[in-house]
């Protein structure tokens, strides 16, 4: 599509221009004067130059350069055109064209040069207009565009005014629009703000180019406005084009004259402007850096690099200050540029007493103008390093100095107030970035721990029975939940033989991970001992042996352990400091509380002395409930404990139901009581409901009431 269009433009130009030339020649020779031929010729010329304009526009779009380079390109083009036309004007070529006879004015050669001049100078005029449009409209405002359009319209009107096809009196329009166009040129020549944004280097180039263009333009004006044979031929070829070229020469002179002066004035501030620009860029980079998740090392590397760029420092290094465990603080260089770590180590030692302390106390930038003579830093002279000036910026976070950013220059008095301001701003950003990086690192760590805790939670859940045994003689129901991810509650139901089942409920003192470890240990101990010891008391004594001395001094474990004999219909239990078991029967609901010490509290002797065993003879419908203190010590919003009385009452109310129902109802009651929905402690509940004694023992058992061999329990009223 674009290729086709280009081809169309190019062919228009290549066809129209020779046609015009041939027409001119024919007309001169034959003296043909067909009406309207003039008008057709003008239209064709306008079309050709419009095609040139479009073609150029298209080419420029694809070959865009920086403004300074554009001006350079324009300069070359202008000079080429100038040399070409200047040669025509000043050499014998002019005489050759003109000859001596006025009749020879229409010589073919003259017409040829006139056409060539028109094409070349018209081309340059279009190029100039396009270049000026580009730079004038740089960072444009609404009125800039309007001014430029007004200028263009006036320019075209002036050219049109020069055309012989315009029916008005020749010269009237020209004399009307020409001065206005010149005014418009002056107006747009004040539009020079693009110079501000050039780099210092570009400004220097622009200054040279604009200066040369000014002179070229001036020369151009002189050439075009003086009487010459070449000028006459050009005029003969196309008067509007000559007008355009003249105005273009004026535009070049005025606009680039102004540009030269403006650039000259901007040159001294170019450096400052450039620096500000780079400061802004660096701060922008840093801001972006602080908001991105970044590796800490990359961060500090970039920070020192940017610092070096911004204030043109020779060496930059960043040290972090962390409180030492022994009191005081320790420093660590985390990034260094253009200075070795061994140098810094030496420097750090000689700085230590004074510079850092000053920084940490005042929390303000320390500026040393001459490091080798300043009281605070002159010790570096012996090391032969860091000669010049030094700026040290404390990085403060929450009123604490967390690091220092140092920058040094070879020159004495190398840092001015601007540098200090920039460094301070930089320091703030660095602080935020460092804090951010640390925060992210911490939250990643926390996330990791959280995930590990989740694994621990899953594993702990697997330590508890997943499926409860289903027996003809008894029903089991159980639950356990932790207030945190992991807890210290424990229960187990283990098959010992075809007719005996061990049931254990325990609670490790304390909470969290330590409790969870002990809980796992207790499970292992109980599981292995239960295969060996048929007596609950014996088992607890051995468990105590295993745990006493191996547990942390502050920790202990309470445990209730019983053996359910489905053949004999008995529950034989011992209690190691655990909450009393609740036994609900027709005769009443009671706490079963044989004496016993918590595991890990006393030595083997004391433990065996003070721990008792108890055997319950079970009857149909009897219920045993074992639990941890999370149930009895559950608190309601006013701080009241759930307590034994409520628990006993509830169990006696629901004891007729199935084991599972009993469990659910107890928990519902506790949860309703707590009502806030959060439980303070771990809770475990195991319900055993005795359904019937085996056929064999059914005959032998004659006693209808439950027989409690040890009368130790407290009656519930």
């Amino acid at each position: 599509m674009t290729r086709l269009r280009r081809l169309l433009y190019l062919s228009t130009i290549l066809i129209v221009l020779p046609v015009v030339f041939v027409t001119d020649v024919v007309r001169a020779v034959v003296d043909l004067d067909v009406g309207g031929l003039w008008a057709l010729r003008e239209v064709m010329l306008v079309g050709a130059f419009l095609a040139i304009n479009a073609l150029l526009d298209d080419w420029r779009k694809h070959h865009r350069r920086g403004i300074a380079k554009e001006i350079g390109r324009l300069l070359i083009l202008t000079i080429v055109a100038l040399i070409f036309f200047g040669t025509l004007v000043f050499t014998g070529a002019g005489d050759l064209i003109q000859g001596t006879d006025a009749a020879q004015n229409d010589s073919v050669l003259g017409m040829f040069w006139g056409t060539i001049s028109g094409v070349v100078l018209g081309f340059v005029a279009i190029w100039t207009l396009q270049t000026v449009r580009e730079i004038v409209l740089f960072k444009r405002r609404k009125e800039t565009k309007r001014n430029f359009v007004v200028f263009l319209v006036l320019l075209l009107l002036s050219c049109a005014g020069a055309s012989p096809i315009v029916p008005l009196e020749g010269g009237f329009l020209l004399s009307l629009f020409l001065p206005l166009t010149v005014v418009a040129i002056v107006v747009i020549s004040f539009r020079q703000n693009w110079i501000v944004y050039l780099s210092r280097r570009e400004k220097v180039y622009t200054l040279i180019y604009a200066g040369l263009l000014f002179f070229a333009g001036l020369f151009y004006v002189v050439l075009l406005f003086q009487e010459s044979a070449a000028g006459k031929e050009f005029d003969a070829f196309s008067r509007p084009l000559l007008t355009l070229t003249k105005l273009n020469a004026l535009l070049t002179t005025i606009y680039f004259g102004m540009a030269f002066v403006t650039t000259l004035f901007h040159l001294p501030t170019a450096e400052v402007f450039e620096r500000k620009q780079s400061e802004i860029n660096s701060l922008h980079n840093l801001t972006r850096l602080t908001t991105q998740v970044l590796d800490f090392n990359t961060l500090v590397e970039t920070v020192t690099q940017l610092t070096q760029e911004v204030c043109g420092a020779r060496s930059v290094w960043l040290e972090l200050i962390t409180p030492a465990s022994s009191g005081g603080w320790k420093t660590q260089v985390v990034a260094n540029r253009n200075i070795t770590l061994s140098d810094l180590e030496a420097v750090g030692e000689v700085f230590d007493p004074s510079l850092r302390e000053i920084l940490m106390e005042t929390k303000k930038v320390v500026l040393v103008d001459d490091t080798w003579s300043d009281r605070r830093t002159k010790s570096v002279k012996e090391l032969g390093v860091l000669r010049g000036s030094l700026a040290s910026v404390p990085l403060t976070s929450h009123g604490e100095v967390i690091g220092i950013l140092h920058a040094s220059k070879d020159l004495e008095h190398g840092f001015d107030q601007d540098d200090v301001d920039v460094l301070t701003t930089f320091g703030d950003h660095v602080t935020i970035a460092i804090e951010n990086a640390r925060l992210i690192a911490r939250s990643i760590e926390r996330e990791r721990l959280q995930q590990e805790l989740q694994v621990a939670k899953r594993m702990q859940k697997q330590l508890l029975p997943q499926v409860l045994p289903v027996l003809e003689e008894a029903e089991f129901a159980a639950m356990s939940e932790s207030s945190a991810e992991v807890g210290g509650d424990y229960f187990d139901i283990v098959k010992l033989s075809e007719t005996t089942w061990a049931i254990a409920v325990g609670d490790v003192s304390g909470k969290g991970v330590s409790a969870a470890f002990y809980m796992a240990e207790v499970k292992g101990i109980v599981l292995s001992l239960s295969k060996v010891y048929a007596s609950p008391k014996e088992l607890l004594a051995r468990a105590n042996d295993a745990l006493h001395g191996s547990l942390d001094k502050r920790s202990f474990i309470s445990l209730v352990y019983g053996i359910l004999d489905t053949e004999a219909g008995t529950f034989r239990l011992a209690r190691a400091g655990h909450c009393p078991m609740i036994y609900a029967a027709n005769s009443g609901t009671v706490l079963v509380r044989p004496n016993g010490l918590g595991l890990g509290i006393a030595d083997s002797h004391v433990f065996t002395e003070s721990t008792e065993e108890q055997i319950l003879k079970l009857n149909e419908g009897d219920v045993c409930v074992m639990y941890t203190d999370g149930i009895t010590e559950a608190r309601n919003p006013s701080g009241e404990e759930f307590g034994y009385d409520r628990l006993l009452r509830r169990i006696s109310e629901v004891r007729e139901r199935s084991a599972d129902e009993i469990k659910i109802r107890i928990l519902d009651t506790v949860r309703t009581f707590v009502s806030t929905g959060t439980y303070m402690d771990d809770m475990t509940l195991v319900v055993v409901k005795w359904l019937r004694t085996n056929a064999h023992t059914d005959h032998s058992s004659t006693s209808p009431a439950s027989e409690v061999r040890k009368k130790k329990e407290t009656k519930h009223e």
Binding site: K553, F556, S558, H578, C579, G596, I601, A602, V606
Partner: protein
């Protein structure tokens, strides 16, 4: 929840620690500090008055276990007094009365120390 307070006073060669409020995992360190201070000063005759103690958790009980060995090794003792029924029940459930001397009144415990001028157990 009521807050926890530890108050220490000294008299007749016996050091009395008064506990007030809620002794659990969070407040246990306060009691530990009090015990540690006494041990640092080589004061091993200790009476813990629990008159205003409203609750004790397993972590609270752990504090006594942590220090009793050191105290007794130095021919001293930790005696507990003035417990409310509720607090006593927690101690009792774990069998602590077998290991610790528990008295109704502070004076009794102080007298006991002065009678024996040494560890009672």
């Amino acid at each position: 929840m009521s807050e926890f307070k530890v108050h220490h006073r000294e008299g007749e060669g016996v050091n009395v620690i008064e506990l007030k409020g809620y002794l659990d995992a969070h407040t246990a360190t306060d009691l530990e500090t009090a015990f540690q201070r006494l041990l640092n000063d080589r004061k091993y005759n200790i009476v813990v008055n629990c008159r205003d103690l409203t609750y004790i958790s397993s972590a609270g009980l752990g504090v006594f276990m942590a220090y009793i060995e050191d105290v007794r090794k130095n021919r001293g003792d930790i005696k507990l007094t003035n417990m409310s029924t509720k607090v006593y029940n927690v101690f009792d459930l774990l069998g602590f009365p077998i290991l610790y001397e528990i008295y109704k009144e502070e004076q009794e415990a102080v007298r006991k120390f002065n009678e024996h001028a040494g560890p009672s157990r």
